[in-house]
Amino acid sequence: MILIRHTLYMTLRHLRELWRQPWFVAVTLVQPVIWLLLFGALFKRVIEIPGFHAHSYIAFLAPGVVVMTAMFNSAWSGMALIEDVSRGVTARFLVSPVRREALIAGRILKEAVVVVIQSLIIVVLALIVGASFAGGVGGVAALFAVSALLGATFGALSNGFALIMRQEEALIGAVQFIVLPLTFLSTTFLAANLIPNWMRSVSDVNPVNWAVVAGRTATSAHPDWGVVASRAGFLAALMVVSLAFATNAFRSYQRSV
């Protein structure tokens, strides 16, 4: 109960912080729209490649952009924690009765709220430009759920590394090193049967691809719920490990103070 309450306090703190930066909110909301329209236009004709079984590239791409947005957003979550650390805010919380898990979970829940809003914008926009999600509302909800799991995983990892590195430059480097390769080592932009074999093997163990595959089948005409469940299971397990890592990373920080 205490944990839930503390998490709520922290989530509200971060959402309020976000709300006070309207320009940042605007950019955050426009960003996924740009991904969708830009990549949608760039790769429009790839569906003409023999073997690419899709009627509309936007419809194929949209679940990938939802997942990508969830990851991109959450991967930067640790930046604000580094600012808290350098301003002494984290130290102040650590000498109070607040639960450490809440300090991580509050940030992740705030990212989740943002990601859900971004995802809604992407889905609505995709519908406007002519995509259809045959899986219906249930399918879209499943897509959001796997994105949220992936976002929470990356958010936790980002916060954990933030506590260990405590340097914005280092975290920026790490995020950039990881995020784009993981996106391209997945079926976000191209169907699995069209990407090189070695990439396909890598994508099988790529959490980003788990979310893309699960989200894409969930929103398709004939969802394979077995695939959705297994990938969601992997993601949930990874999220739990990441959260434990982030919570433990406070020890690393506390050894250094």
Binding site: R5, Y9, R16, R87, G88, R92, P97, V257
Partner: protein, 323 residues
């Protein structure tokens, strides 16, 4: 009688090999203000971090309000209020929001937290700025908010780590009266760390002087100052003369506690004005050339010199190097 704070042989070396504490011990009687005085790098802040459970000691043990800081960290955190060096204010939130969140995590909810926040905002002169984002607060206002946040849950033991460092002299004076009031109020125990001997003198019932991670002297401000009666004489020499200076002054009854550090000579005298001509005469007789002479009331530097065997500046410079 049980102590409010007890530190026993605390030792800590940071991962990079910086030895912060080397067997620090002291005890604080409930309801009193206790000051740890020393230069940067003496280990004061590390001691506070261990006592407030932010970090752990490599050796030794400590209790706060009778609770072991290692074994009963959770209960310690519920009992204490902490104002850390620097600040812990969330500058993107308003003063009121900062207070509210701090109260909420201490389990104060609903109407009571609103009442408590308003009370503290008024008491610390922040009522007008209460709903402004703290980024726009002056240094003094942020510091007052810091202290208000530490008091939200009415803690039995309050830690103030260099609460007045970086503040203007007038703001510092205001802060002193606030802290003095805290100590009188409902028998709070206050542990204060400071650079300034006057601050400890003004506020603390007992003072411990910390150098290189240990307590080198402890007592009431009066006791410590009594040891330092008289004036400080500071002579700058033209060059280094080694033993000749000591030879010149050893026979002189007007001065005591003579120390020579390179071209710098320090001594104490009951009456500085009368002693200076005698000192100059004695030095001249030994052929020691003098560049300048100053006479001053005892300062923190002199306390340091006496108890730590080196000047405050030298201690700070050494702290910079090892950091």
């Amino acid at each position: 009688m049980e102590k409010a704070i007890e530190a026993e042989s605390l030792a800590k070396t940071y991962p990079k090999g910086v030895k912060a504490l080397a067997g620090l011990s002291f005890a604080v009687t409930p309801g009193t203000v206790f000051a740890l005085v020393g230069p940067n790098g003496a280990g004061k802040s590390t001691a506070v971090k261990i006592l407030t459970t932010l970090t752990t000691a490599d050796a030794g043990r400590a209790t706060v309000a009778g609770l072991d800081v290692l074994a009963e960290g959770d209960r310690v955190r519920r009992t204490i209020g902490v104002v850390a060096q620097g600040s812990g204010v969330d500058v993107q939130a308003t003063g009121r929001e900062n207070l509210r969140l701090q109260g909420q995590i201490h389990g104060i909810r609903g109407r009571s937290i609103e009442v408590r926040a308003q009370e503290l905002l008024e008491r610390f002169g922040l009522a007008d700025a209460a709903d402004r984002v703290a980024r726009g607060y002056s240094g003094g206002m942020q510091r007052r908010l810091d202290i208000a946040m530490a008091l939200v849950h009415d803690p039995a033991v309050l830690f103030l780590d260099e609460p007045t460092t970086g503040l203007d002299p007038e703001v510092r004076a205001d802060m002193w009266s606030e802290i003095a009031e805290l100590a009188r109020e409902r028998g709070k125990t206050v542990l204060l760390t400071t650079h300034y001997l006057e601050e400890a003198d003004q506020l603390a019932e007992r003072v411990a002087i910390v150098d290189r991670g240990t307590v080198v002297a402890e007592g009431t401000p009066e006791e410590l100052k009594r040891e330092l009666r008289g004036d400080a004489i500071h002579v700058d020499l033209e060059t280094e003369y080694n033993g000749r200076v000591n030879r010149a002054l050893s026979a002189l009854e007007a001065v005591r506690d003579v120390t020579v550090d390179g071209k710098s000579l320090r001594a104490r005298a009951d009456d500085g004005g009368r002693a200076v001509p005698l000192v100059l005469q004695a030095l001249e007789k030994q052929g020691v050339a003098v560049a300048s002479v100053r006479v001053a009331r005892p300062s923190l530097d002199d306390v340091y010199l006496k108890y730590a065997g080196r000047t405050f500046d030298a201690a700070e410079a050494e702290a910079e190097v090892t950091r």
